[in-house]
Each structure stands twice: as C-alpha cells, then as structure tokens.
C-alpha cells in the first residue's frame, strides 16, 4: 500500500504543470474558444514531443507504457489550464480501444502514429435513444461481399471533427442476420457517406454529431475478430471517466484558488468577504469537496485494471461523487464572485462550464449512483 507519487510521476507532474502554466492563459483560451478547430496543432505537436501522446501506449508500439495514474496526473494539470486539445478522444479513448480490441496489424498501423502525433482518433458510440446506456446501440454494420456497410447516427462525439480515423460502434449483422454483438469499426473521416456536424462544446473544445448512411468499409475495418466489443467499451469508458475525473479535480482546484483569492481582496461593509464566517465555511466545504474528488479520481485510476465489477463500481462511484462535488464547487465559485461571476469578463464561468460538461459526459451523478447500486446488487443474490 503506497499512494505516494514515484520520482518519475513527480517529474511528470512538474513538467505538465509548468507547460500548462506557461502556455495556457486567458488569451489562449479565448482564442481557442472561437477557433473553428478548437485546439492548437502546434500545442498538439508539443504534446507529442513531450511524450504525452505516447504515455499510455505499450512500448512495443513506440509508447511509454504508462498507466491510468500517469494519465490522471496529466489530466489534472490539463484541467487547471482548461486544455482543449483532443487528448481524451485520441489517447484515452481511441488508442485504448485500438490496443484492447485491435489485431496486431491494426495496432501496428495506428498506435505508433498516435504516439508520434501524426494521427488523431475519436470514438463515436453514444446515440440519442440510448441516453447513457452503453449497451444500447442501434447503428448497424451489415456484412457485404467486400466488407461492411454502416448505417446509423451518433451524437456527442468528442473532437470527432479533428480525427483522422473515427472508431464507430455498430451492431453486427452477418449472413445470418443480427448477431447481437457490438463491433467497432475504423472509419476514415473522409469516408463517403459519413457526415459530421460539429459544434463548440460546452466548456471548451468541440464535439459533433455523425450520420452514417451506407458507409462502405473494407473487411479489416472491423477491430479484432468481431467478438462483442461491449466489455471493451465499458472498460474504455470507465477509464475515460477516471481521466475526466482527474481533469475535473484540476478545474475545481483552480476555481477554489481563484475564489479564495477573490474573497480576500473583495471588500464589502468595510472588510474582506473572507472575514465572514459564512464565507469561510463555504470555502471550507469547497476545499473538502475538492479533496474528496481528488481521492475518488485516484481511486478510480488505481482500479482501472481491477476485475470488471470492481473497476466499474469505482469508476461510477467516482463519476457520481466528483460530478456532485463539481457542481457544488462550480456553482459556489460563481456565487462568491457575485455578479461578476455570471459574466464572460471573468474566467470563472469558463471553468464552471467545463465542469457542467464533465458532469454530463457519459452520464451524470444520478445515472452513476444508480449504476453503482445496480452493480452492487448483482454481486448479492436477491
């Protein structure tokens, strides 16, 4: 039992904190918010040079073989600067799914390119009718003589506009009809029949909705051998939730720091706001919730490779708890900034919006407490 950072992990943290503090300021964020790309290719190149894109990729595919704890260290620092590069889409979700489901040839073709920054990925899974149920997929992949034909619609695809290849989930229909298995398919962003409508994502970065009508794919577009991909999808999403939880911790910490400073400086009735006990207690509650969130994000990261039930409960527990804390810390940060907190003139709102987006992604607190409860009960005979 040891929850101290190793020397390598400390170095990683220092380097990413330094980078974010040096490269990400309010001007940069405002520029990115109005940028049609939503992120900076130059920064992405630096990510590659710093080894962050290679971080979780296995060494045999030119990666560094890092784990969820290292990703969490990066993400927390990204949160502090509201980094908008498509890291979760490409590295945390995309590369993980390729590594978990892909054939040796597919991994060899893709992972080294992710590691060196020359290829970006996205994961198109969510559908409107499924809400947050990962098992519910209506998009179809019909077996054809040449390969596969994909049809369906996906929503809330993170950074799909930036991806070179999109991993699309679809129900496999083979020669015998619907198989009941979900397959993952690699679709080039330029594939005929694929249409992307992207939008500015709440809190920075971009997302898109995707329509697939008769997208023809070769045989080897299917990742792996066509086993049901649901367990891998659940694993990858749990892993992404741990990473996003760490990012949320960074965002919350920045909001807490900023709000604390403001309450010391802002004077009303002849004294600083922080001289009031009601304000001090509110800040104490915020600090506590940031710390609880930090514990939960770390716990989810440390359990990413645990048996599925354990992992999923840790991930859902973290997502639910951090989501709840994020709303509290975010809303109170605005409250304590008074009217200015509601304006675009301060950055409090931008950080808050990213927290709202976090709580929404992959399902909010209510959904994940319910999932946590459901998973808890399957282990106990009724």
């Amino acid at each position: 039992m040891d929850l101290n950072l190793s020397d390598e992990q400390k170095l990683l943290r220092e380097s990413v904190e330094r980078f974010v503090a040096g490269s990400y300021d309010a001007d940069h964020r405002r520029k990115m918010a109005n940028d049609p790309l939503g992120y900076s290719p130059a920064v992405w190149k630096q990510f590659a040079e710093l080894g962050w894109l290679a971080l979780p990729i296995p060494e045999e595919f030119d990666g560094l073989g890092g784990g969820a704890v290292e990703i969490g260290i990066l993400m927390e620092a990204f949160g502090r600067g509201l980094v908008s590069e498509p890291y979760v889409a490409t590295v945390v979700l995309g590369a993980a799914l390729i590594d978990r489901c892909g054939s040796a040839a597919q991994k060899q073709a893709i992972l080294p390119k992710v590691a060196d920054g020359s290829l970006k990925l996205a994961f198109a899974h969510s559908e409107r009718a499924a809400r947050f149920d990962l098992a519910k997929v209506a998009a179809t992949a019909n077996k054809t003589a040449q390969g596969w034909r994909l049809a369906g619609s996906k929503i809330a695809v993170l950074d799909g506009h930036a991806a070179d290849e999109i991993i699309v989930s679809a129900l496999i229909h083979d020669h015998h009809g619907p198989s009941g298995r979900i397959g993952l398919f690699l679709v080039r962003a330029t594939a005929p029949g694929l249409s992307i409508s992207d939008y500015q994502r709440l809190g920075g970065g971009r997302a898109c909705n995707i329509d697939l009508s008769g997208v023809e794919l070769p045989d080897d577009a299917l990742l792996g051998d066509g086993h049901d991909a649901l367990p891998a999808i659940e694993w990858a999403v749990d892993r992404a939730m741990a990473a996003l939880g760490a990012e949320a911790v960074g965002i919350m910490q920045t909001l807490l720091d900023t709000t604390l400073e403001y309450t010391k400086i802002r004077k009303q009735f002849g004294r600083p706001l922080s001289a009031n006990q009601v304000i001090r207690h509110r800040l104490a509650d915020m600090a506590m919730q940031v710390d609880e969130s930090r514990s939960m994000a770390l716990r989810a990261a440390l359990k990413v490779e645990s048996p599925p039930l354990d992992r999923a409960r840790a991930a859902s527990g973290a997502k639910a708890k951090i989501g709840k804390c994020a709303r509290f810390v975010g809303e109170q940060s605005i409250q304590l900034h008074g009217g200015m907190g509601v304006t675009e003139e301060l950055e409090v709102g931008a950080y808050f919006k990213r927290l709202v987006a976090f709580d929404t992604l992959f399902g909010g607190s209510a959904h994940h407490y319910a999932r946590h409860a459901q998973l808890g009960r399957t282990s106990v005979p009724a």
Binding site: M1, L3, V69
Partner: protein, 398 residues
C-alpha cells in the same frame, strides 16, 4: 502507487484475524452490535482491552518503551480495519488514546510508572473532564477552579458530557489554576481519583435512551499537587496536544463501512419488505458507500504520507468532519430502511440483556437509538462549525 498490501502486511493481517478469531467471544460480538452508544460498557470493553494487552497490542500508538507494539502506519490501518470488520468491542478511548499520550509526553517518571501500566491492563478506567456547562466550543473559557493549599489543590466547579464518569475510577481534567491575560493561560492538566470526597456524578440520558454521559460536580475536592501533569498553567497546550494526537492516524472508514453493510443487509432482507427495491433507497446506499470510499482513500493518502515520514498537513483535519457527517448519513438511512419498525423504540438497557421479547427484530434494535444518539457526532470533539473554522484557517489561510 499501489492500493494492495505487501506480503509482510498480509501476514500481519492474518495474525490479526487469528487473534480476533481466538479472543472475540460471541457474547462480546453480540453486545457490541447491540450497543447504540459510542463506547462499549466496561465489562465488555475492558475484557477486550485485557485480551489486547495479553497480546502486547494494548496501546497501538504508544512508543515501544511504554508497551506499544511498534507498528507501522499500515499495520495500524490493518489492525483497525480488521477490528471493525470483526465487530470487536469499542474500548473507551480516554485511557489508551487520550490521557496515555499526554502522560507519556509530559508526565513525571513517577506518573508514567504508576499510570501507564494500569491503563494498558485496564485496571484504571478513565473519563475526561473538559467541557463545562458554560464552556462548549469555547473550551478555554472553563471555570472549574483549582486553588493551591499546601501540597494539594482544592477543586470547585463542574464538568459536563463526561463519558462513562459513572464507570470511571479516574478523570483527567482541565482546571483553572490562575487567571492569565488570555483565557488559555492559567489552565492546568490534573489527574483526579474519582473516589475522592466531594465528587458527585449526575447521569444525563441522551435522546436515544442511553446513559453514556454525565455531569460531574466538584465540591472542595482535594487533589495532590503531584497529580498535575507538566507545568502549572500549561494545561491548554497539553490538552490541545491530546486533541491533535489522533490527527493523522484517524482510521474511521472501516467502521462506517460495517455500519452501512448492516443497513444494506436489512434493506435486502424480507424484514424490511426489501427496502432496497426502492431505487431511491438503493441510490442513497450507493451515495453513502461512495462517500466512505472517498474517506477511506483520504485516510490511505494520509497514511502513505506518514509511512514516508511526511507531514500529511491539513488534509487530516477533514477526516473528523467527514467521518461524523457520513456516520450520521448511515444512521439516517437506517431509520428510513427499517420503515414501520422505526416507531418501536426499546427503552431498556443494555439491549443485549433484555428479559423480554422486543417489539422489533433484534437486528433493528439499535437503528433508531444510533440515529438519535448519532446527532452528537457533529457536536463532540469540536463541532462541525469549529472544524470548518479550522479547515478555513489551516488549509485556506483565512
């Protein structure tokens, strides 16, 4: 980073389990499960203390030279966790965990030689004389006065919320020996024999129906000056040391988890008509379980820092607050889970020695009393409001 225990630690875990299996009787276990107050009564609690002492585990936090087992923080974690899982008696902490460290830190050689072995063996049973009717959160405003008369102090005043004063043969108390410029000055730390003439104890019943706390009156009580720990007038420093002693080694999550498990089992039982089938109850159980997970992780983070000799810092001040709030959430959930049976509250004590058939199943007997008594968790040992003041000051610098 690693959440799992190493081979050595797992071996220690087996040793603890073996010890508990051999020494925890069914009677102790049942009595503990059926005690809705904070501490076990002395017959149960001291039986366990004696078993621990025989094993050399009577005082986990003490230095080896005074009889401590020299455990690492991880070993203490394992010991506390296994103890909670097994449902061992809740030994009154006033001796081993509270006055013991103060005597070790500031007592004279004579005091150490006399008191420490008697704490370890359970021969002495201690209570704490801190709060007064007029001094709650503002503890240092205390008025109980000790006036020097030759080799004695003569003590007059009253102490309140004195846990197990009706069982204790000794009390450690903060008393005023002079009036300084600040109200923290002039307080001394005194050890009092509870059989001294002039001491009377009045029981206070809590809303759960338990007699755990008391008011103690001092009427010209003569206590030898030799019973003062450390310097005259420095008692506030020693008292604060005592309060901080447990900081950084707080291990509460395992007990909370067991408490929640008992409620979850009731919720899954036909006794409650399967309360868990209500999605609201199921989600609330998860919400509390996740809060316990977070607390446990924070405890482990503090523990990891301690293992490598780092100061865990102000994070540990969060532990008391969250522990007390989560405990209340567990007990609140319990009342909702048992439904109809929350109306029937058994007034007789102890619940493990009833001579009649209670109105509710035995597993539910403590649920309402624990909820009611449990309101005290956010009040004693520094209210939640005081804890938030401390967090704001220590963590945030405001």
């Amino acid at each position: 980073m690693d959440l799992t225990f190493n081979a050595e630690e797992r071996a220690f875990q087996s040793e603890v389990r073996g010890f508990i299996a051999k020494n925890l009787t069914d009677e102790m276990k049942r009595a503990t499960a059926l005690t809705p107050s904070v501490f076990s009564d002395p017959d149960i609690g001291m039986a366990w203390q004696r078993a621990l002492h025989r094993q050399g585990w009577g005082a986990p936090g003490w230095p080896v030279e005074y009889g401590g087992p020299d455990w690492t923080p991880a070993q203490r974690w394992i010991f506390e966790t296994e103890s909670a899982r097994a449902g061992v008696p809740n030994v009154n902490v006033m001796g081993v965990k509270m006055v013991g460290p103060v005597i070790i830190g500031f007592g004279s050689p004579e005091q150490k030689n006399f008191y420490l072995p008697r704490i370890l063996s359970g021969e002495d049973y201690w209570c704490q004389g801190y709060s007064e009717p007029g001094s709650g959160s503002d503890l240092s405003s205390l008025k109980t006065r000790a006036v020097r008369d030759g080799d004695d102090y003569i003590i007059n005043g009253t102490k309140i919320w004195t846990t197990h004063a009706h069982h204790a043969n000794r009390m450690f108390a903060l008393v005023r020996t002079s009036d300084g410029e600040r109200q923290q000055d002039g307080i001394s730390f005194i050890l009092i024999d509870m059989t001294t003439p002039g001491i009377t104890t009045r029981p206070i019943l809590t809303i759960g129906g338990d007699h755990e706390v008391n008011q103690v009156f001092f009427d010209d009580v003569r206590v030898p000056v030799a019973n003062r720990v450390g310097d005259e007038g420095k008692g506030w420093t020693y008292g604060k040391y005592l309060l901080e002693f447990e900081r950084g080694s707080g291990i509460a999550s395992a007990k909370l988890r067991e408490g929640l498990k008992a409620i979850a089992e009731l919720a899954e039982s036909d006794l409650t008509g399967r309360a868990i089938d209500s999605p609201d109850i199921a989600s609330r159980i998860s919400e509390v379980e996740v809060d316990i997970d977070a607390l446990e992780m924070t405890e482990l983070r503090v523990l990891s820092a301690l293992q490598t000799g780092q100061n865990p810092g102000a994070v540990s001040s969060i532990l008391k607050l969250r522990n007390s709030e989560i405990r209340q959430a567990v007990t609140r959930l319990g009342v909702d889970v048992i439904g109809h049976d929350a109306l029937a509250v058994e007034p007789m004590r102890p619940l493990y020695k009833l001579n009649h058939e209670p109105a509710t199943p035995e597993d539910m007997l403590t649920v309402v009393p624990e909820y009611l008594n449990g309101r005290a968790y956010t009040i004693f040992g520094g209210t939640s409001e005081i804890q938030r003041d401390i967090i704001a000051k220590m963590m945030l610098g405001i």
